[in-house]
């Protein structure tokens, strides 16, 4: 066995060298090619944007070019293929100057050395000052005390509810606590067969963790060991599961569009989601105009922490165009440009001062601003995604398979510990 290992190792090294030699060789030559353009690149910067750049970000880039004389080569990448595109960029080392990064990707790509440490710029440039942005978003850029990006836009979860249906059961306002949420959900589910009160989202990786935090769970201890079978976490799971078991919430995805689940009769009249649902409801469920609202999350025993998401702007490691890249990021961090981006893409500004604008004072959007003050990102570690994925599997065993909660979470905790140790 040992011997075989050694042989395989030698073979592996040999083949790897052969297979990748050419790639490395070209890596050098393409760097040369880059530096060729680098000499006259003082007037250009390349930017990878996730989504439709022509539509959403071009106006900002145009005014940037006008102001600084720096031309921006934007490449739009559909979200569905963005992770693959970034993988190949990491593999070849050939990326853009500035790249938009989803917050959940930050840890894996900064760990891989794909993003540049820009702590110095964040300390020296006013526009990039940490205090300008929501804390939860700034946190997604920090690893080992270094900063690898600047918040670009933010997302958080809030409660959507049908005000008319809640009125009917005696709630003139949104549920404020877990108890009220459970009570309202149960009453709403009594409206008839196949009617529910709330949606315990079984496909959202962050849902259970969010509720656990509201119950005081820290998720991980200081050494990074999971606390998923501890009391706060288990209790929150019991709380969520009780709503499924008493029929307040569907056990599985109902397979219906928002226009039926929330619009019309309101099969599921309360759910938790991000700001993008506002547009979706306005467009697809116009029948309930004025009959729905948003609110900050109901508070658990400890707090009403929500989950922060969104995207950051980072500088690709290895670019020789750092100065222009930082100029672009600075420009995009200005409140007025963040507001332009709100107009073109409905994404929420990560810069706090932008929220003073009246566009963000509307009754549907304002609760999100309020919720952002009580919102945290998921733990930032390359393996977190895998843990979160595992959570969904185990959670399904409880809700669909009827497994014991404590036993299942014990198993989940063990599994998560071994994933995180890797």
């Amino acid at each position: 066995m040992r011997k075989w290992n050694k042989k395989a190792l030698v073979g592996t090294v040999g083949l790897l060298t052969a297979g990748f030699l050419a790639a490395c060789g070209s890596g050098n030559s393409s760097e040369e090619a880059n530096s060729d353009t680098g000499s006259n690149s003082s007037k250009e910067v390349s930017f990878w944007f996730m989504g439709d750049g022509n539509e959403q970000v071009q106006p900002i880039l145009d005014s940037f070019t006008e102001e600084t004389g720096i031309k921006v080569n934007v490449q739009s990448i559909p979200w569905s293929a963005a992770h693959d595109r970034l993988l190949t960029a990491v593999a070849s080392g050939e990326g853009p100057d500035v790249v938009q990064m989803g917050t959940t990707w930050m840890s894996e790509f900064s760990d891989a050395g794909a993003l540049m440490d820009i702590t110095d710029y964040i300390n020296s440039e006013d526009e990039l000052n940490r205090d300008n942005f929501f804390e939860g978003n700034v946190g997604t850029n920090e690893f080992d005390g270094k900063y690898y990006g600047v918040p670009w836009y933010t997302e958080t979860r809030a409660l959507y509810y049908r005000s008319d249906l809640l009125e009917d059961i005696g709630y003139s306002e949104a549920p404020k606590t877990w108890d009220e949420l459970k009570d309202a959900a149960l009453k709403l589910s009594k409206r008839g067969d196949n009617m529910y009160g709330f949606n315990v989202d079984g496909s959202d990786q962050t849902f259970g963790f969010m509720f656990a935090r509201q119950n005081g769970s820290k998720l991980l201890d200081k050494e990074g060991n999971p606390l998923f079978n501890q009391k706060p976490f288990v209790e929150s799971a019991e709380y969520l599961n009780s709503m499924i078991q008493n029929g307040s919430a569907p056990a599985q995805d109902l397979g219906i569009d928002i226009s039926q689940s929330f619009g019309g009769e309101g099969i599921v009249p309360m759910f938790i989601s991000g700001p993008w649902m506002i547009t979706a409801i306005n467009e697809n469920a116009s029948d309930i105009d004025g009959k729905w609202a948003t609110a900050v999350l109901p508070a658990g025993p400890e707090n009403n922490l929500s989950n922060t998401g969104g995207a950051n702007l980072s500088v690709w490691n290895g670019t020789d165009n750092t100065k222009n890249a930082i100029e672009l990021i600075k420009f995009m961090s200005k409140p007025e440009n963040q507001l332009t981006f709100l107009d073109t893409s409905s994404s929420l500004p990560a810069v706090k001062s932008a929220w003073e604008d009246e566009k963000l004072q509307g009754d549907k959007i304002a609760p999100f601003g309020e919720q952002l003050e009580s919102s945290e990102h998921m733990p930032l570690m390359p393996k977190w995604e895998e843990v979160a994925q595992k959570y969904l599997d185990y959670w399904e065993q409880i809700t669909v398979g009827g497994a014991d909660i404590q036993d299942t979470l014990d198993a989940f905790n063990k599994d998560a510990a071994s994933i995180l140790k890797k």
């Binding site: 592996t12 693959d84 993988l87 891989a112 397979g255 390359p382 890797k422």
Partner: protein, 296 residues
């Protein structure tokens, strides 16, 4: 006299392309499967550690992987015969008919192959909806006093629902292949059989089906390989749920490799799948060879 060199000229362009874009990557995948390569390793090869066969031992004891293997076998055993039989049946029926209407039917049965996957997901989610006031299948069942069936929610039924969907999608291209082969059966054979007083069913049984031998073999092998890589249907409809009951090996590999960046682990999974497919194909070829010997 056949030239000795000619065949190499014929196959060289294809082989060269395949060598670079398929075979070489397989070897690279093989190497990767013995390492803990992740995103960081992709950027900096010095961070790749050699793990020996650890990925293989881990994956073989991973309950999700085992489940995905069992699911995939289930898909293959039920799905492949259905696709082959139905696409051959439709091709023969269409071919018997001739005329404008029948060649138009060919386009109809081909239409699932050119229907956008997003459209497929939306329409079939509607067809499979568990409520008997929304889902079309359940509404139909309701009118005859049956159901409702939890098509995609019941772990025992979800697999079958996906098979229905995949068979519907898979018929088109195979039907075309059979159609192409059918046109090559000499007319004289049927004329002779007819003179001998063979019925239509006998003609199909003793002329058409044996004459389709080569295409059948082709369709079986490619369908088998395709179904062993069953991916899109669970990906868009169930994401492997409920309770991993629809998780296929390919979906498992995709999740681990491209969502979670465990390239080493995923590569080990795909090489196991690779070996299984080769064994299944060789087995299939052996059966074919035996049959040929028997018929001659």
């Amino acid at each position: 006299m056949k030239s000795k060199k000619a065949p190499y000229f014929f196959i060289a362009p294809a082989l060269i392309l395949l060598f670079f874009f398929s075979i070489l990557p397989i070897f690279i995948a093989l190497i990767i499967s013995f390492t803990d390569m992740s995103l960081a390793g992709l950027a900096d090869y010095s961070r790749i550690n050699f793990m020996g066969v650890e990925n293989y031992t881990n994956i073989l004891s991973d309950p999700s992987f085992r489940q995905s293997i069992l699911n995939t076998i289930y898909y293959v055993i039920i799905g492949v015969p259905l696709v082959v039989a139905l696409s051959m049946g439709i091709a023969i029926l269409i071919n018997m008919g001739k005329g404008k209407f029948f060649s138009f039917m060919r386009l109809i049965f081909y239409s699932p192959s050119i229907t956008n996957i997003v459209a497929i997901a939306i329409v079939w989610s509607f067809l499979f909806n568990p409520s008997d006031s929304i889902g079309l299948f359940n509404r139909l069942l309701h009118t005859i006093g049956l159901g409702p069936i939890a098509w995609l929610q019941d772990p025992r039924i979800a697999k079958l629902s996906l098979i229905i969907l995949a068979v519907w999608r898979g018929i088109g291209i195979n039907m075309l292949i059979f159609s192409a082969a059918l046109t090559n059966i000499p007319k004289t054979m049927y004329e002779a059989a007819e003179l001998d007083g063979a019925t239509q069913l006998q003609q199909i049984r003793y002329i058409t089906i044996p004459q389709l031998k080569f295409s059948t073999f082709f369709v079986i092998v490619t369908t088998l390989i395709g179904w062993l890589q069953f991916f899109e249907e669970p990906f868009v409809m169930t994401e492997g749920g409920p309770l991993n009951s629809t998780l296929s090996v390919s979906l498992f590999i995709y999740r681990n490799g491209f969502q979670l960046n465990n390239f080493g682990y995923a590569a080990a999974g795909s090489l196991i799948l690779f070996v299984v497919i080769i064994i299944a194909t060789l087995f299939q070829m052996k059966i074919q060879r035996k049959e040929e010997e028997n018929t001659i």
